[in-house]
Subunit: 230 residues, 2 copies
DNA sequence: CACAGTCAAGAGCGGTGCTCTCGAATTTGT
DNA sequence: ACAAATTCGAGAGCACCGCTCTTGACTGTG
Protein backbone atom coordinates (compact mmCIF):
# COMPACT_ATOMS: atom_id res chain seq x y z
CA UNK A 1 0.00 0.00 0.00
CA UNK A 2 1.73 3.19 -1.13
CA UNK A 3 1.82 5.86 1.56
CA UNK A 4 1.00 8.73 -0.74
CA UNK A 5 -2.58 7.58 -0.99
CA UNK A 6 -5.24 9.23 1.10
CA UNK A 7 -7.00 7.25 3.77
CA UNK A 8 -10.03 7.00 1.55
CA UNK A 9 -8.01 5.65 -1.35
CA UNK A 10 -6.28 3.12 0.87
CA UNK A 11 -9.59 1.97 2.26
CA UNK A 12 -10.99 1.70 -1.23
CA UNK A 13 -8.08 -0.39 -2.48
CA UNK A 14 -8.30 -2.71 0.50
CA UNK A 15 -12.05 -3.14 0.22
CA UNK A 16 -11.78 -3.78 -3.50
CA UNK A 17 -9.28 -6.53 -2.81
CA UNK A 18 -11.41 -7.94 0.00
CA UNK A 19 -14.42 -8.07 -2.28
CA UNK A 20 -12.45 -9.92 -4.94
CA UNK A 21 -11.07 -12.34 -2.36
CA UNK A 22 -14.49 -13.14 -0.96
CA UNK A 23 -15.91 -13.44 -4.48
CA UNK A 24 -13.10 -15.82 -5.42
CA UNK A 25 -13.82 -17.85 -2.31
CA UNK A 26 -17.50 -18.15 -3.25
CA UNK A 27 -16.51 -18.95 -6.79
CA UNK A 28 -14.51 -21.90 -5.51
CA UNK A 29 -17.46 -23.08 -3.46
CA UNK A 30 -20.42 -22.73 -5.76
CA UNK A 31 -19.11 -21.86 -9.20
CA UNK A 32 -19.66 -18.88 -11.44
CA UNK A 33 -23.46 -18.68 -11.25
CA UNK A 34 -23.29 -19.25 -7.54
CA UNK A 35 -21.47 -15.96 -7.21
CA UNK A 36 -23.93 -13.58 -5.59
CA UNK A 37 -23.24 -9.92 -4.93
CA UNK A 38 -25.58 -9.99 -2.00
CA UNK A 39 -23.81 -12.97 -0.48
CA UNK A 40 -20.42 -11.34 -0.93
CA UNK A 41 -21.67 -8.17 0.72
CA UNK A 42 -23.33 -10.13 3.51
CA UNK A 43 -20.11 -11.99 4.23
CA UNK A 44 -18.18 -8.72 4.31
CA UNK A 45 -20.70 -7.19 6.69
CA UNK A 46 -21.96 -4.55 4.36
CA UNK A 47 -25.08 -3.89 2.43
CA UNK A 48 -25.41 -5.10 -1.15
CA UNK A 49 -25.85 -1.67 -2.68
CA UNK A 50 -22.51 -0.55 -1.23
CA UNK A 51 -20.77 -3.09 -3.47
CA UNK A 52 -21.81 -1.13 -6.52
CA UNK A 53 -19.45 1.64 -5.44
CA UNK A 54 -16.63 -0.76 -6.24
CA UNK A 55 -17.95 -2.84 -9.11
CA UNK A 56 -20.62 -1.33 -11.35
CA UNK A 57 -22.22 -4.72 -11.95
CA UNK A 58 -21.89 -8.40 -11.33
CA UNK A 59 -20.31 -8.80 -14.74
CA UNK A 60 -17.60 -6.29 -13.89
CA UNK A 61 -16.74 -8.24 -10.76
CA UNK A 62 -16.63 -11.41 -12.85
CA UNK A 63 -14.39 -9.69 -15.38
CA UNK A 64 -11.96 -8.73 -12.63
CA UNK A 65 -11.87 -12.33 -11.45
CA UNK A 66 -11.38 -13.55 -15.02
CA UNK A 67 -8.43 -11.24 -15.58
CA UNK A 68 -6.88 -12.34 -12.30
CA UNK A 69 -7.38 -15.99 -13.26
CA UNK A 70 -5.82 -15.51 -16.68
CA UNK A 71 -2.83 -13.84 -15.07
CA UNK A 72 -2.53 -16.53 -12.42
CA UNK A 73 -2.55 -19.46 -14.83
CA UNK A 74 -0.40 -17.47 -17.25
CA UNK A 75 2.23 -16.85 -14.60
CA UNK A 76 2.15 -20.48 -13.51
CA UNK A 77 2.74 -21.76 -17.03
CA UNK A 78 5.35 -19.10 -17.78
CA UNK A 79 7.53 -19.89 -14.81
CA UNK A 80 7.13 -23.60 -15.48
CA UNK A 81 8.14 -23.15 -19.10
CA UNK A 82 11.39 -21.58 -17.96
CA UNK A 83 12.42 -24.67 -16.08
CA UNK A 84 13.78 -27.65 -17.98
CA UNK A 85 16.81 -27.73 -20.20
CA UNK A 86 15.40 -29.19 -23.42
CA UNK A 87 12.28 -28.03 -25.29
CA UNK A 88 10.70 -31.41 -24.61
CA UNK A 89 11.25 -31.03 -20.91
CA UNK A 90 9.94 -27.49 -20.91
CA UNK A 91 6.82 -28.70 -22.75
CA UNK A 92 6.18 -31.49 -20.28
CA UNK A 93 6.71 -29.25 -17.25
CA UNK A 94 4.51 -26.51 -18.66
CA UNK A 95 1.71 -28.98 -19.41
CA UNK A 96 1.98 -30.44 -15.92
CA UNK A 97 1.87 -26.95 -14.42
CA UNK A 98 -1.22 -26.11 -16.42
CA UNK A 99 -2.94 -29.27 -15.24
CA UNK A 100 -1.93 -28.66 -11.64
CA UNK A 101 -3.28 -25.14 -11.70
CA UNK A 102 -6.49 -26.28 -13.38
CA UNK A 103 -7.08 -29.01 -10.80
CA UNK A 104 -6.37 -26.64 -7.93
CA UNK A 105 -8.67 -23.94 -9.29
CA UNK A 106 -11.34 -25.82 -11.22
CA UNK A 107 -13.94 -23.09 -10.97
CA UNK A 108 -11.55 -20.40 -12.12
CA UNK A 109 -10.46 -22.66 -14.95
CA UNK A 110 -14.08 -23.14 -15.92
CA UNK A 111 -14.58 -19.41 -15.66
CA UNK A 112 -11.96 -18.63 -18.30
CA UNK A 113 -11.98 -21.74 -20.47
CA UNK A 114 -15.44 -23.16 -19.92
CA UNK A 115 -18.67 -22.25 -21.57
CA UNK A 116 -19.00 -18.51 -21.32
CA UNK A 117 -21.39 -17.19 -18.71
CA UNK A 118 -24.72 -16.64 -20.48
CA UNK A 119 -25.05 -13.00 -21.33
CA UNK A 120 -21.42 -12.29 -20.61
CA UNK A 121 -19.16 -10.89 -23.31
CA UNK A 122 -15.43 -10.64 -22.64
CA UNK A 123 -14.18 -7.07 -22.75
CA UNK A 124 -10.95 -6.04 -24.43
CA UNK A 125 -9.02 -5.95 -21.13
CA UNK A 126 -9.00 -9.74 -21.03
CA UNK A 127 -7.26 -10.50 -24.32
CA UNK A 128 -3.72 -9.69 -23.20
CA UNK A 129 -3.87 -11.78 -20.01
CA UNK A 130 -5.66 -14.48 -21.98
CA UNK A 131 -2.82 -14.78 -24.44
CA UNK A 132 -0.16 -15.51 -21.84
CA UNK A 133 -0.67 -19.28 -21.78
CA UNK A 134 -0.70 -19.86 -25.55
CA UNK A 135 2.19 -17.42 -25.83
CA UNK A 136 4.21 -19.46 -23.34
CA UNK A 137 3.49 -22.71 -25.18
CA UNK A 138 4.30 -21.30 -28.58
CA UNK A 139 7.40 -19.73 -27.05
CA UNK A 140 8.72 -23.20 -26.36
CA UNK A 141 8.11 -24.18 -29.97
CA UNK A 142 9.73 -20.95 -31.11
CA UNK A 143 12.85 -21.46 -29.02
CA UNK A 144 13.13 -25.06 -30.15
CA UNK A 145 12.91 -23.98 -33.75
CA UNK A 146 15.55 -21.31 -33.26
CA UNK A 147 17.78 -23.93 -31.66
CA UNK A 148 17.21 -26.17 -34.65
CA UNK A 149 16.07 -29.16 -32.62
CA UNK A 150 12.63 -29.60 -34.17
CA UNK A 151 12.11 -32.76 -36.17
CA UNK A 152 8.60 -33.54 -37.30
CA UNK A 153 7.58 -37.06 -38.21
CA UNK A 154 4.68 -38.31 -40.26
CA UNK A 155 2.91 -36.80 -43.23
CA UNK A 156 1.74 -33.18 -43.02
CA UNK A 157 -1.33 -32.40 -45.13
CA UNK A 158 -1.24 -29.48 -47.52
CA UNK A 159 -2.01 -26.11 -45.91
CA UNK A 160 -4.68 -24.06 -47.60
CA UNK A 161 -3.83 -20.45 -48.47
CA UNK A 162 -6.26 -19.14 -45.89
CA UNK A 163 -4.80 -21.34 -43.18
CA UNK A 164 -1.31 -20.15 -44.17
CA UNK A 165 -2.48 -16.58 -43.71
CA UNK A 166 -3.96 -17.29 -40.31
CA UNK A 167 -0.83 -19.08 -39.18
CA UNK A 168 1.26 -16.18 -40.43
CA UNK A 169 -0.71 -13.77 -38.29
CA UNK A 170 0.03 -15.86 -35.23
CA UNK A 171 3.68 -16.35 -36.18
CA UNK A 172 4.25 -12.64 -36.61
CA UNK A 173 3.01 -11.97 -33.11
CA UNK A 174 4.24 -14.92 -31.12
CA UNK A 175 6.72 -17.07 -32.99
CA UNK A 176 8.46 -15.23 -35.83
CA UNK A 177 10.37 -17.44 -38.19
CA UNK A 178 8.65 -20.67 -37.26
CA UNK A 179 7.38 -22.51 -40.36
CA UNK A 180 3.63 -22.77 -40.71
CA UNK A 181 3.68 -26.57 -40.59
CA UNK A 182 5.45 -26.51 -37.23
CA UNK A 183 3.19 -23.79 -35.86
CA UNK A 184 0.08 -25.70 -36.92
CA UNK A 185 1.18 -28.75 -34.96
CA UNK A 186 1.99 -26.56 -31.99
CA UNK A 187 -1.53 -25.15 -31.93
CA UNK A 188 -2.99 -28.61 -32.38
CA UNK A 189 -0.99 -29.84 -29.40
CA UNK A 190 -2.12 -26.93 -27.25
CA UNK A 191 -5.79 -27.44 -28.08
CA UNK A 192 -5.36 -31.13 -27.32
CA UNK A 193 -4.03 -30.42 -23.84
CA UNK A 194 -6.95 -28.08 -23.31
CA UNK A 195 -9.40 -30.74 -24.47
CA UNK A 196 -8.00 -33.31 -22.07
CA UNK A 197 -8.12 -30.92 -19.14
CA UNK A 198 -11.68 -29.90 -19.88
CA UNK A 199 -12.73 -33.53 -20.15
CA UNK A 200 -11.09 -34.31 -16.86
CA UNK A 201 -12.51 -31.29 -15.05
CA UNK A 202 -16.04 -31.64 -16.39
CA UNK A 203 -16.08 -35.26 -15.34
CA UNK A 204 -16.31 -36.84 -18.77
CA UNK A 205 -13.56 -39.26 -17.77
CA UNK A 206 -15.54 -40.56 -14.81
CA UNK A 207 -15.43 -44.33 -14.84
CA UNK A 208 -12.57 -44.51 -17.31
CA UNK A 209 -9.43 -42.42 -16.87
CA UNK A 210 -9.68 -41.85 -13.18
CA UNK A 211 -7.15 -40.70 -12.16
CA UNK A 212 -6.14 -39.23 -15.49
CA UNK A 213 -2.50 -38.72 -14.52
CA UNK A 214 -1.07 -41.48 -16.69
CA UNK A 215 -3.24 -40.76 -19.69
CA UNK A 216 -2.35 -37.10 -19.49
CA UNK A 217 1.38 -37.83 -19.24
CA UNK A 218 1.19 -40.25 -22.14
CA UNK A 219 -0.67 -37.80 -24.34
CA UNK A 220 1.71 -34.97 -23.49
CA UNK A 221 4.61 -37.21 -24.39
CA UNK A 222 3.10 -38.19 -27.73
CA UNK A 223 2.25 -34.59 -28.49
CA UNK A 224 5.85 -33.59 -27.88
CA UNK A 225 6.89 -36.09 -30.55
CA UNK A 226 4.09 -34.87 -32.77
CA UNK A 227 5.31 -31.28 -32.62
CA UNK A 228 8.91 -32.40 -32.90
CA UNK A 229 10.10 -31.31 -29.46
CA UNK A 230 12.90 -33.38 -28.03
CA UNK B 1 -49.21 -40.25 -30.49
CA UNK B 2 -50.45 -43.78 -29.82
CA UNK B 3 -54.22 -44.07 -29.84
CA UNK B 4 -54.50 -46.29 -26.80
CA UNK B 5 -53.67 -43.40 -24.53
CA UNK B 6 -56.40 -41.57 -22.72
CA UNK B 7 -57.06 -37.96 -23.58
CA UNK B 8 -55.34 -36.92 -20.39
CA UNK B 9 -52.25 -38.95 -21.20
CA UNK B 10 -52.14 -37.55 -24.71
CA UNK B 11 -52.43 -34.00 -23.43
CA UNK B 12 -49.73 -34.66 -20.91
CA UNK B 13 -47.33 -36.05 -23.52
CA UNK B 14 -47.98 -33.13 -25.83
CA UNK B 15 -47.51 -30.55 -23.13
CA UNK B 16 -44.32 -32.22 -21.96
CA UNK B 17 -42.97 -32.01 -25.49
CA UNK B 18 -44.10 -28.41 -25.84
CA UNK B 19 -42.35 -27.48 -22.61
CA UNK B 20 -39.13 -29.09 -23.80
CA UNK B 21 -39.41 -27.37 -27.16
CA UNK B 22 -39.91 -23.95 -25.62
CA UNK B 23 -37.14 -24.61 -23.10
CA UNK B 24 -34.82 -25.62 -25.94
CA UNK B 25 -35.74 -22.44 -27.77
CA UNK B 26 -34.89 -20.30 -24.76
CA UNK B 27 -31.71 -22.31 -24.27
CA UNK B 28 -30.68 -21.35 -27.77
CA UNK B 29 -31.39 -17.71 -27.07
CA UNK B 30 -29.95 -17.07 -23.65
CA UNK B 31 -27.99 -20.17 -22.67
CA UNK B 32 -28.38 -22.57 -19.78
CA UNK B 33 -28.66 -20.06 -16.94
CA UNK B 34 -31.03 -17.99 -19.02
CA UNK B 35 -33.46 -20.88 -18.92
CA UNK B 36 -36.28 -19.76 -16.67
CA UNK B 37 -39.22 -21.92 -15.70
CA UNK B 38 -41.36 -18.85 -15.31
CA UNK B 39 -40.44 -17.61 -18.77
CA UNK B 40 -41.20 -21.00 -20.32
CA UNK B 41 -44.56 -21.09 -18.60
CA UNK B 42 -45.31 -17.51 -19.58
CA UNK B 43 -44.56 -18.26 -23.22
CA UNK B 44 -46.81 -21.30 -23.11
CA UNK B 45 -49.63 -19.30 -21.58
CA UNK B 46 -49.67 -21.07 -18.28
CA UNK B 47 -48.67 -20.33 -14.75
CA UNK B 48 -45.24 -21.27 -13.48
CA UNK B 49 -46.43 -23.61 -10.81
CA UNK B 50 -48.23 -25.71 -13.40
CA UNK B 51 -44.87 -26.62 -14.93
CA UNK B 52 -43.96 -28.56 -11.81
CA UNK B 53 -46.60 -31.13 -12.72
CA UNK B 54 -44.39 -32.07 -15.64
CA UNK B 55 -40.88 -31.46 -14.34
CA UNK B 56 -40.26 -31.65 -10.60
CA UNK B 57 -37.56 -29.00 -10.76
CA UNK B 58 -35.52 -26.85 -13.06
CA UNK B 59 -32.72 -29.40 -12.90
CA UNK B 60 -35.03 -32.15 -14.09
CA UNK B 61 -36.00 -30.09 -17.10
CA UNK B 62 -32.32 -29.44 -17.77
CA UNK B 63 -31.59 -33.14 -17.46
CA UNK B 64 -34.26 -33.93 -20.04
CA UNK B 65 -32.70 -31.39 -22.40
CA UNK B 66 -29.24 -32.81 -21.75
CA UNK B 67 -30.35 -36.33 -22.57
CA UNK B 68 -32.04 -35.11 -25.74
CA UNK B 69 -28.89 -33.24 -26.72
CA UNK B 70 -26.67 -36.24 -26.11
CA UNK B 71 -28.97 -38.36 -28.24
CA UNK B 72 -29.14 -35.75 -30.98
CA UNK B 73 -25.40 -35.31 -31.33
CA UNK B 74 -24.93 -39.05 -30.89
CA UNK B 75 -27.32 -39.82 -33.70
CA UNK B 76 -25.69 -37.21 -35.92
CA UNK B 77 -22.24 -38.66 -35.41
CA UNK B 78 -23.45 -42.25 -35.71
CA UNK B 79 -25.13 -41.79 -39.06
CA UNK B 80 -22.14 -39.79 -40.28
CA UNK B 81 -19.76 -42.53 -39.22
CA UNK B 82 -21.65 -44.99 -41.36
CA UNK B 83 -20.98 -43.02 -44.50
CA UNK B 84 -17.57 -43.23 -46.13
CA UNK B 85 -15.88 -46.33 -47.45
CA UNK B 86 -12.52 -46.17 -45.67
CA UNK B 87 -11.91 -45.69 -41.95
CA UNK B 88 -10.15 -42.40 -42.73
CA UNK B 89 -13.18 -41.15 -44.61
CA UNK B 90 -15.53 -42.24 -41.87
CA UNK B 91 -13.36 -40.41 -39.34
CA UNK B 92 -13.33 -37.21 -41.34
CA UNK B 93 -17.06 -37.28 -41.99
CA UNK B 94 -17.85 -38.03 -38.37
CA UNK B 95 -15.65 -35.17 -37.17
CA UNK B 96 -17.26 -32.80 -39.65
CA UNK B 97 -20.71 -33.90 -38.51
CA UNK B 98 -19.79 -33.32 -34.89
CA UNK B 99 -18.55 -29.82 -35.70
CA UNK B 100 -21.64 -29.03 -37.77
CA UNK B 101 -23.94 -30.11 -34.98
CA UNK B 102 -21.94 -28.18 -32.40
CA UNK B 103 -22.03 -24.99 -34.45
CA UNK B 104 -25.73 -25.34 -35.10
CA UNK B 105 -26.53 -25.98 -31.44
CA UNK B 106 -23.84 -24.12 -29.52
CA UNK B 107 -25.86 -23.78 -26.34
CA UNK B 108 -26.80 -27.43 -26.29
CA UNK B 109 -23.19 -28.33 -26.94
CA UNK B 110 -22.15 -26.12 -24.04
CA UNK B 111 -24.85 -27.75 -21.95
CA UNK B 112 -23.41 -31.23 -22.34
CA UNK B 113 -19.71 -30.57 -22.88
CA UNK B 114 -19.18 -27.20 -21.24
CA UNK B 115 -18.58 -26.40 -17.62
CA UNK B 116 -21.26 -28.15 -15.63
CA UNK B 117 -24.10 -25.96 -14.39
CA UNK B 118 -23.22 -24.92 -10.81
CA UNK B 119 -25.08 -27.11 -8.41
CA UNK B 120 -26.05 -29.59 -11.08
CA UNK B 121 -24.97 -33.22 -10.90
CA UNK B 122 -25.61 -35.48 -13.87
CA UNK B 123 -27.91 -38.37 -13.01
CA UNK B 124 -27.31 -41.92 -14.17
CA UNK B 125 -29.79 -41.63 -17.05
CA UNK B 126 -27.33 -39.49 -18.95
CA UNK B 127 -24.38 -41.85 -19.14
CA UNK B 128 -25.72 -44.11 -21.87
CA UNK B 129 -26.68 -41.26 -24.25
CA UNK B 130 -23.42 -39.55 -23.34
CA UNK B 131 -21.39 -42.50 -24.51
CA UNK B 132 -22.83 -42.59 -28.01
CA UNK B 133 -20.35 -40.12 -29.52
CA UNK B 134 -17.17 -41.65 -28.11
CA UNK B 135 -18.59 -45.08 -28.94
CA UNK B 136 -19.08 -44.05 -32.55
CA UNK B 137 -15.55 -42.68 -32.81
CA UNK B 138 -13.96 -45.69 -31.18
CA UNK B 139 -16.14 -47.89 -33.40
CA UNK B 140 -14.34 -46.50 -36.41
CA UNK B 141 -11.01 -47.35 -34.83
CA UNK B 142 -12.31 -50.79 -33.93
CA UNK B 143 -13.52 -51.53 -37.43
CA UNK B 144 -10.27 -50.30 -38.93
CA UNK B 145 -8.33 -52.54 -36.61
CA UNK B 146 -10.49 -55.54 -37.46
CA UNK B 147 -9.92 -54.78 -41.15
CA UNK B 148 -6.19 -54.68 -40.50
CA UNK B 149 -5.69 -51.24 -42.03
CA UNK B 150 -4.26 -49.46 -39.00
CA UNK B 151 -0.66 -48.36 -39.30
CA UNK B 152 0.70 -46.13 -36.57
CA UNK B 153 3.72 -43.94 -37.17
CA UNK B 154 6.09 -42.32 -34.71
CA UNK B 155 7.26 -43.49 -31.31
CA UNK B 156 4.72 -44.60 -28.74
CA UNK B 157 5.77 -44.03 -25.12
CA UNK B 158 5.58 -46.89 -22.67
CA UNK B 159 2.14 -47.43 -21.15
CA UNK B 160 2.03 -47.64 -17.38
CA UNK B 161 0.25 -50.63 -15.83
CA UNK B 162 -2.54 -48.44 -14.52
CA UNK B 163 -3.08 -46.86 -17.91
CA UNK B 164 -3.16 -50.33 -19.48
CA UNK B 165 -5.88 -51.30 -17.03
CA UNK B 166 -7.93 -48.22 -17.80
CA UNK B 167 -7.56 -48.77 -21.53
CA UNK B 168 -8.59 -52.39 -21.09
CA UNK B 169 -11.78 -51.33 -19.37
CA UNK B 170 -12.66 -49.15 -22.32
CA UNK B 171 -11.64 -51.76 -24.87
CA UNK B 172 -13.79 -54.42 -23.26
CA UNK B 173 -16.85 -52.22 -23.56
CA UNK B 174 -16.35 -50.42 -26.82
CA UNK B 175 -13.52 -51.83 -28.90
CA UNK B 176 -12.65 -55.42 -28.02
CA UNK B 177 -9.41 -56.67 -29.47
CA UNK B 178 -7.93 -53.27 -30.23
CA UNK B 179 -4.40 -52.93 -28.81
CA UNK B 180 -3.97 -50.47 -25.99
CA UNK B 181 -1.52 -48.36 -27.98
CA UNK B 182 -4.05 -47.88 -30.77
CA UNK B 183 -6.89 -47.20 -28.35
CA UNK B 184 -4.82 -44.60 -26.51
CA UNK B 185 -4.25 -42.67 -29.71
CA UNK B 186 -7.91 -42.93 -30.56
CA UNK B 187 -8.91 -41.34 -27.28
CA UNK B 188 -6.26 -38.67 -27.70
CA UNK B 189 -7.64 -37.84 -31.13
CA UNK B 190 -11.20 -37.64 -29.81
CA UNK B 191 -10.24 -35.31 -26.95
CA UNK B 192 -8.32 -33.16 -29.44
CA UNK B 193 -11.38 -32.73 -31.62
CA UNK B 194 -13.34 -31.79 -28.54
CA UNK B 195 -10.70 -29.26 -27.51
CA UNK B 196 -10.77 -27.59 -30.90
CA UNK B 197 -14.54 -27.37 -30.94
CA UNK B 198 -14.68 -25.93 -27.46
CA UNK B 199 -12.04 -23.36 -28.36
CA UNK B 200 -13.97 -22.39 -31.44
CA UNK B 201 -17.33 -22.21 -29.68
CA UNK B 202 -16.09 -20.32 -26.64
CA UNK B 203 -14.45 -17.77 -28.87
CA UNK B 204 -10.84 -18.47 -27.96
CA UNK B 205 -9.98 -18.47 -31.65
CA UNK B 206 -11.28 -14.93 -32.16
CA UNK B 207 -8.74 -12.94 -34.10
CA UNK B 208 -6.79 -15.99 -35.23
CA UNK B 209 -8.53 -19.03 -36.71
CA UNK B 210 -11.67 -17.34 -37.89
CA UNK B 211 -13.18 -19.15 -39.64
CA UNK B 212 -11.70 -22.29 -38.19
CA UNK B 213 -12.76 -24.53 -41.07
CA UNK B 214 -9.32 -25.03 -42.53
CA UNK B 215 -7.56 -25.47 -39.23
CA UNK B 216 -10.16 -28.00 -38.15
CA UNK B 217 -9.85 -29.97 -41.39
CA UNK B 218 -6.09 -29.94 -41.17
CA UNK B 219 -6.08 -31.15 -37.58
CA UNK B 220 -8.61 -33.88 -38.32
CA UNK B 221 -6.44 -35.03 -41.19
CA UNK B 222 -3.30 -35.13 -39.07
CA UNK B 223 -5.15 -36.94 -36.31
CA UNK B 224 -6.26 -39.60 -38.77
CA UNK B 225 -2.62 -40.24 -39.58
CA UNK B 226 -1.78 -40.14 -35.89
CA UNK B 227 -4.29 -42.85 -35.10
CA UNK B 228 -3.34 -44.81 -38.21
CA UNK B 229 -6.62 -44.51 -40.09
CA UNK B 230 -6.30 -44.50 -43.83
C1' DC C 1 -73.31 -41.28 -10.59
C1' DA C 2 -70.02 -40.69 -7.25
C1' DC C 3 -65.36 -41.04 -6.03
C1' DA C 4 -60.37 -40.84 -6.71
C1' DG C 5 -56.89 -38.93 -9.37
C1' DT C 6 -55.06 -35.08 -11.96
C1' DC C 7 -54.75 -30.58 -13.27
C1' DA C 8 -54.13 -25.16 -13.60
C1' DA C 9 -54.17 -21.31 -10.94
C1' DG C 10 -53.02 -18.24 -7.20
C1' DA C 11 -50.67 -16.59 -3.15
C1' DG C 12 -46.55 -16.52 -0.90
C1' DC C 13 -41.47 -17.38 0.76
C1' DG C 14 -36.77 -16.27 0.33
C1' DG C 15 -33.51 -15.29 -2.92
C1' DT C 16 -31.27 -12.44 -6.84
C1' DG C 17 -29.26 -8.00 -9.62
C1' DC C 18 -29.83 -3.40 -9.70
C1' DT C 19 -31.44 1.72 -8.92
C1' DC C 20 -32.35 5.64 -6.28
C1' DT C 21 -32.22 8.62 -2.41
C1' DC C 22 -30.41 10.42 1.88
C1' DG C 23 -27.37 11.65 5.47
C1' DA C 24 -22.72 11.21 7.10
C1' DA C 25 -17.85 11.18 6.37
C1' DT C 26 -13.85 12.67 3.97
C1' DT C 27 -11.13 15.18 0.73
C1' DT C 28 -10.22 19.43 -1.59
C1' DG C 29 -9.95 24.42 -2.50
C1' DT C 30 -9.76 28.89 -0.81
C1' DA D 1 -9.76 26.96 9.20
C1' DC D 2 -13.78 26.61 7.10
C1' DA D 3 -16.89 25.83 3.30
C1' DA D 4 -17.65 23.32 -0.97
C1' DA D 5 -17.26 19.18 -3.47
C1' DT D 6 -16.84 14.50 -3.58
C1' DT D 7 -17.31 9.84 -1.90
C1' DC D 8 -19.36 6.57 0.82
C1' DG D 9 -22.68 3.20 3.45
C1' DA D 10 -27.22 2.33 4.37
C1' DG D 11 -31.98 1.62 3.32
C1' DA D 12 -36.10 1.12 0.57
C1' DG D 13 -37.85 -0.62 -3.44
C1' DC D 14 -38.47 -2.77 -8.31
C1' DA D 15 -38.74 -6.80 -11.13
C1' DC D 16 -37.27 -11.17 -11.57
C1' DC D 17 -36.13 -16.03 -10.12
C1' DG D 18 -37.06 -21.28 -8.18
C1' DC D 19 -40.07 -23.49 -5.45
C1' DT D 20 -44.09 -24.84 -2.11
C1' DC D 21 -48.71 -25.15 -0.66
C1' DT D 22 -53.59 -24.73 -1.04
C1' DT D 23 -57.85 -24.40 -3.58
C1' DG D 24 -61.24 -25.47 -6.78
C1' DA D 25 -62.35 -27.48 -11.17
C1' DC D 26 -61.89 -31.16 -14.37
C1' DT D 27 -61.37 -36.15 -16.01
C1' DG D 28 -61.51 -41.14 -16.10
C1' DT D 29 -63.29 -45.21 -13.84
C1' DG D 30 -65.68 -48.43 -10.95
Amino acid sequence: MPAHLTARERARAELTAAIKDEARRQLGLRGADGLSLRAVARELGMVSSALYRYFPSRDDLLTALIIDAYNAVGAAVETAAERGSTPGERWRIACAALRTWAREHPHEYALIYGSPVPGYRAPQDTVTPASRVPTAFLGIVHDAWQAGTIEQAGPAPELTPRLREQLDTIANHLAPGVPQEVLARGVIAWTQVYGMLSFELTGQFVGTFEPADDFFANAVEQLASFVGLS
